[in-house]
Amino acid sequence: MPLVFAGVCSHAPGIVGRADQADTAAKNRLYEAFEGLRHRLEASKPDALIVVAAEHFANFFMNNMPSFAMGMADYYEGPIENPEWLGIPKTRIPGNRSLSERLIQKVMETADVSYAEEWKFDHGIMVPLHFLTPNYDLPIIPTNINCQGPPLTPLHRAWAFGQALREAADSVPERVALIGTGGISHWPATPDSGKINESWDRQFLDEWSRCDKAAMLSYADTQSYLDAGQGAFEIRTFMTVSAATEGAPGIVHFYEPIPIFAVGCTIGTIDLEAPPLRSTN
């Protein structure tokens, strides 16, 4: 049935792991926004949640680095990181192998994916789940886009992947929800960690909220790197959600740079009920 929910959020490990070092008021504002996102997700009564992530060399390495990967298991594990470091205990996360298989076969019609019967979630998936499904009771379909090891997934192929995900989600009887998770500008795990280019972020989020495909596809990695750090390569995850909901407006519920979390923290949803946007392409 048609996609029941689509949204985006940040996943930086500091959001949970360094929560005690943050400005309390800023942290609380972010946590409330995550709470709001959880309520919206729950209200959509999903049978499963596709997470479009950009993992950080936890499962996928240069010996076999997929442009796109999709999980195909009945359960997963996470976090792969030290639980004390991340502030999230190790747990088992439910999947849905049958649903994964049907989605993967449909996606494979137009995009080429690696499927994975094992997957140890890193903070890129665990931080969103920690806030959105704190009881780990919603089956997760993990997906990954290579935003880390060049050659990276081209932006226009991330768009094609988003379209393929949408067709797949609409083709199954289950109520499928979708969330994309990544940083916008940031310099994670570098000496510049904490740096955030707020105006760059606000421009990207403006384009994202208007589903401006041409504008979003025009970001070149070399320029993004200079302006917004290597973390900005993760805009692919936000764009995949745009592609899956092309023509529907995005709502930015929260945006605030929080340097100790090393990212401009973002919470957004797509208004799937709104009249289609006039094409900007």
Binding site: H56, F61, E81, W187
Partner: protein
């Protein structure tokens, strides 16, 4: 070198072997003497200089109980001592630092000092 750290980060059994015998854990990897030594110390700054991706190095630092701010400082020190990242594209941009940045945004950041 990154392959070693990738394997180490994702495998608790391998971490236990590394804890017992750091040099022994390296034998199956194609590494220079400099790389081996940097991994055994561990010399976070040198590893960063040698081109290890920060996302991989971050967990290696955590494994050695190196606090976040100390980890960032060691990378900065590595670049100061050894020069820019030898392989890969990373260039430092002259960031003002989390404390100054937070203050400018009206946030207080309660960072623990030292390791």
């Amino acid at each position: 070198m990154q392959k070693f750290l990738f394997e180490l980060n994702r495998d608790e059994e391998f971490q236990a072997r590394y804890a017992e015998d750091r040099r022994g854990a390296l034998v199956n990897f194609d590494l220079t003497a400099e790389e081996q030594q940097a991994l055994i110390e561990p010399d976070i700054g040198l590893l960063f200089h040698l081109g290890v991706n920060g996302q991989i190095l971050m967990h290696f630092a955590a494994l050695h109980s190196i606090e976040w701010q100390d980890y960032l400082q060691r990378m900065r020190d590595g670049l100061a001592v050894h020069g820019p990242v030898r392989e890969g594209v990373y260039a430092v941009t002259g960031y003002e630092g989390v404390d100054a940045h937070s203050t400018r945004l009206g946030q207080t950041s309660d960072i623990e000092e030292g390791a």
